[in-house]
Amino acid sequence: MTTSAAQPILEIKNLHAGYGQSEILHGLNMSVFDNEIVAIIGPNGAGKSTAMKSILGLLTISQGDVLLKGEAVTNTPANQVITKGIAYVPQTDNVFVNLSVQENLEMGAWTRATGIQEKLNQMYELFPDLKQKRKQAAGSLSGGQRQMVAMGKALMIDSDVLLLDEPTAGLSPKYRAQIFTIIRDIRDSGIPIMIVEQNAKQALGSADRGYVMVDGGNRHEGTGTELIENREVARMFLGGRE
């Protein structure tokens, strides 16, 4: 396990959250430390996306805390959470379809006061395809390119942590591999990442640590390798092989 002397960048403590009367998350606990990729996997309906949304303040948190670098951001409205340093890429509806690629990136930089041009250049280096298509409407791009716009948009701010909700959903293997490479590059550049993934094997392969969620709560926790080798996890997701 990692040395827990360091403070987690992002922490969820005993989180109970849901929509209106129904509670979906029951006492969830998670952390993301510096320089790591944390994968959240679990069966359908486990509440993985919900966990991410509750960090963003998109759900009502009835109990528990969300801490960013030690500071509580529980139930902070989404657009303010972004200012505090959490960047988020939703699973669907993650680009402004009628805005151009460049305009999407510019919107990503909304909370940024300076250095926008510099960031744009950085994004175009990271995603060379997008530079070519920067004046094109984001809605006219392919799924994989759209995902890149979505991620680039989130990276326009110097966030403390990046949350990705199923970034490879519905993408071809080529794009999936590309996205995971980019994710590792982002981690190496100093931004820790929390990623919700349906494709458990690939996620655990790239991640440093992982959490397995079942029915709105924690089930397993460990490094990527530990989880891959875990019997029960294997049975749930990885085709039963040990």
Partner: protein, 316 residues
Amino acid sequence: MWESFGFEFFNFYFIPGLVLGCIYALGAIGITLTFGILRFANFAHGEVMMTGTYLTWTFSMVFATMFGISLHPLLAAIPAIPATILLALFIDRYFYKPFRKSATIMVVIASFGMMLVVRSLVQVIWGPNQIVFVKGIAKPNEAVRDFTSSFDMMLLIPNKHFWIVAGTIIIMGLLVYLLGYTRIGKAMRAVSDSPDLANVTGIDVDYVMRATWIVGATCALAAGVFLSMDTQVLETTMGFRMLLPMFAAAILGGIGRPFGAVFGGLVIGLAEELSAYPWIGDTPLLSPGYKTGVAFAIMVFMLIVRPSGLFKGRTF
């Protein structure tokens, strides 16, 4: 040819249609922006337009009383701009915002109610009678008349029409700049695409909504002032009269597409005026009493055939 067809057609049908189209276009901009960004049909839009125009008249009256100078409506409109904006923001804050998280129908009913509230308020303060804004008969611009006469055509266009078309073009230009080149304009387009995504991108959606009201109210004021310049009178019914054509223009152009709304406004304005032209034979194609039905017919047609409008706006 000009004698028999062109003269009458251009001077009495086409140009009035164009002018009316400009007015519809400006009014429709506010409707389509509200529809696209705030996601509801604002029935009170016409009344805000009307109130702003009454305020313009009031400013010109006050100015005339204090300084003895009679201001042109366009100048008197300048102080009316912030007043109209404040009105629109006030209405949103106290009557629409409470319903942001409720079913859309609630805010639509509220806006329908506000339509009556605002109109009654104006009727209480200014009275229901027609007020003459610009006295006298507008004579055709002599320079244009003489110039076109030299080409064997004769265009009779009063100055007010030049102002209206020019004013509309200028506002269009400003709108292009705002939406395409400014941060807030792009944010408005972003929220129109997806308020949820804008929210998680860090955009203050409330701020964008306020900006939408500001832009919409300003365009509505322009529409109202141009209308009163054209008809030369003020009436408390002018808002409601314009409402249906403005909605029709917004739907025709595509909800959420401001330039679609402009196009829609021009089409409807022209269609309305040209419908009275004797295309076949001697009598008007459509009896002039039914002119106001043209906008409605176009709207229903669009709603059945292509609800997303000509420029593929939002469909709900």
